[in-house]
């Protein structure tokens, strides 16, 4: 699979402050990759380095086959960036903003006109295209900023906190647009966010950062396995069987169950994998359990994130 971003042992310092400390990751073509971490984790610094705005203190990085320190302009020409604030010229209209950024991206006049109409339509801004963007709502500004990032059909898109500060409706709208446009244009996307719900919905793979270093990375399923190797099931019973405690203590399902938590008629079972669920439930029924409901419990990204962050926090403070 073609790699669009390849980062190895990336370090960066602002004066004495270590902003990035041995970061390693790669982004495949067509993939949505999420950088997760608290404020100050180094997400924005990473995007700046990948676009050649800063030079790395050490480590190697390649973006779209270019080295950002030498070919920053080529990367910025082929990529699109949505910064944390929309960074629009608020005294200019949407059309004027897109004309400005389109020209700087190297698009021809007819291409800019065509693309502007196309994107304003797609992002639902055509009725306000000739209004100054200072009169726009936050959600509209963010949509226009996203349109600006998409203007040059980017092969790679950097989205820094794409829904930060938006109301839930506008956030949903922006997320849908990202998903739609990604599908239409087939671009690779790197999203920096501390919105875990957003990351869970949009990203194919994730990297959890803290203090400029990667703490864990992989698909959501891989990250879940990292913090909890089994799979959790919630089993609700019609009534508690008399022999429940004996059954729980005697492990009637060797090799299938990893752990059990019981609270009256509600059991939480950690099974080895999704495949063993029918066997476990069949054995419970055989043992006289009156099963009312079985609900697989997927660990949310939030739980994964917090466990990874807490683990490293404790590791650092105790070490």
């Amino acid at each position: 699979m073609e790699t669009v971003i390849d980062v190895k042992n990336l370090c960066h310092k602002y004066g004495d402050q270590q902003a990035l400390n041995g970061l390693t990751f790669h982004v495949n073509h067509g993939e949505v990759f999420g950088l997760l971490g608290p404020n100050g984790a180094g997400k924005t610094t990473t995007v700046r380095l990948l676009n050649g705005l800063f030079e790395a203190t050490s480590g190697s990085l390649q973006v779209l086959g270019f080295n950002p320190s030498d070919d920053g302009e080529k990367i910025r020409k082929a990529a699109g960036v949505l910064t944390e604030t929309p960074a629009l010229y608020e005294r200019l209209t949407a059309r004027q903003n897109l004309k400005f950024f389109g020209t700087l991206a190297g698009l021809s006049e007819p291409d800019i006109r065509l693309r502007t109409d196309e994107l304003l339509e797609l992002f639902g801004l055509q009725d306000r295209a000739d209004d100054r963007t200072g009169t726009y709502s936050k959600g509209m500004k963010q949509r226009l900023a996203l349109a600006r990032a998409w203007l040059n059909h980017p092969k790679l898109l950097f989205l820094d906190e794409p829904t930060s500060g938006l109301d839930p409706e506008a956030a949903v709208q922006v997320r849908e647009l990202i998903a739609d446009v990604r599908q239409q244009e087939g671009a690779s996307v790197l999203i920096c966010t501390h919105n875990l719900d957003e990351a869970q919905r949009l990203c194919d793979r994730l990297l959890i950062m803290r203090e400029g270093a990667d703490r864990a990375q992989g698909t959501l399923a891989e990250l879940r396995r990292l913090v909890s190797p089994g799979m959790w099931l919630e089993v609700e019973l019609l009534q508690q069987p008399v022999n429940m405690n004996d059954w729980l203590n005697s492990n009637h399902t060797p090799g299938l169950l990893r752990s059990i938590q019981a609270e009256e008629k509600l059991l939480r079972l950690e099974v080895e994998s999704e495949d063993v669920i029918p066997t476990v439930i069949a054995q419970m029924i055989q043992a006289g359990f009156l099963v009312k409901r079985v609900q697989p419990q997927e660990i949310s990204l939030e739980e994964v994130y917090l466990q990874v962050q807490n683990f490293h926090h404790h590791e650092n403070t105790s070490g």
């Binding site: 910064t83 950024f101 020209t103 700087l104």
Partner: protein
């Protein structure tokens, strides 16, 4: 290799933004009008109405006139008192004041273009474009330099028209401009505009707002006031060759300031300044 299309669009965008800044536009209209229309009209009308030079017979002005070098004095030969007074006041002494225009205009536009970009939080979006540092600098510098020079020249043309039309009853001929003005307009004015751009870019690196950058660069007006004082006391009189030398000094100073400004104008420095 510089991309002229990118430079042009940066200049276009900055000028479009400047046009929307009421305080800059107001100063771009009001100040030239005061220098070019209001003050000359008051002087000319006073002189033509009274028909004598009495209005200019202030003892301080007389000291000033006494210091006029012989080379200038010879050009005034054959003129009557009113013509001499008007020629000296509006044709010579007023010349350095005219230089306030390029300074003020380019400083205000440059402050709007460089510090204003940071103040409005649009800088980072601009730095993520594929324009090179040099293209960004040149585009922005031109957006301050070109209008300040062009407006000053336009004001000069208006000044010529007013002095010759309203002064016609006094002189009975086209009497203005004097040769010294050409050096001033086409050599010193662009130099001062460039100087103000360089200084304002350097100041903008430290200033967080358009207003603080503009106010600090406003201190450059002292240069002009220095020239005015020098001329009024007879120390420096802006003849053509003095104008050429003063212009050369300003061009050299502008070159140094622009060079220093370019050194500090790179993406990393701009982002770190932003962070501070």
């Amino acid at each position: 290799m510089l991309d002229l299309r990118k430079i042009k669009i940066i200049t276009w965008k900055d000028l479009l933004e400047v046009r929307q800044n009421k305080s800059v536009v107001t100063s771009m209209i009001i100040v030239p009008l005061i220098f070019v229309v209001v003050i000359p009209l008051i002087m000319l009308i006073t002189a033509t109405q009274t028909g004598s030079a009495e209005a200019f017979n202030d003892p301080d002005l007389q000291v000033m006139f006494a210091n006029v070098p012989d080379s200038i004095g010879s050009q005034l030969e054959g003129m009557n008192d009113v013509q001499v007074m008007i020629s000296l006041m509006l044709g010579y002494l007023f010349a350095p004041m005219f230089l306030i225009l390029p300074l003020m205009l380019s400083a205000s536009i440059a402050a709007e273009s460089f510090a204003g970009e940071r103040e409005r939080k649009t800088l980072e979006g601009l730095l993520y474009t594929s324009a090179s540092d040099a293209e960004l600098f040149i585009g922005k510098a031109l957006s301050a330099f070109l209008p300040s020079v062009l407006i000053t020249w336009a004001a000069f043309i208006l000044y010529i028209i007013i002095l010759n039309t309203v002064g016609y009853p006094v002189f009975g001929r086209i009497w203005f401009p004097f040769p010294t003005w050409y050096a001033l307009m086409f050599w010193v004015t662009p130099a001062l505009s460039a100087l103000a751009v360089g200084a304002t870019v350097l100041i903008s690196a430290k200033a967080q707002t358009f207003m603080s950058a503009y106010q600090t660069s406003g201190s450059l007006v002292l240069l002009v006031l220095g020239l005015f004082a020098g001329q009024a006391t007879g120390v420096v009189y802006l003849s053509t060759w003095v104008g050429m030398i003063v212009g050369l000094v300003f061009w050299l100073a502008a070159g140094v300031l622009v060079f220093l400004a370019i050194q500090g104008f790179n993406r990393k420095a701009l982002l770190l300044q932003k962070a501070h």
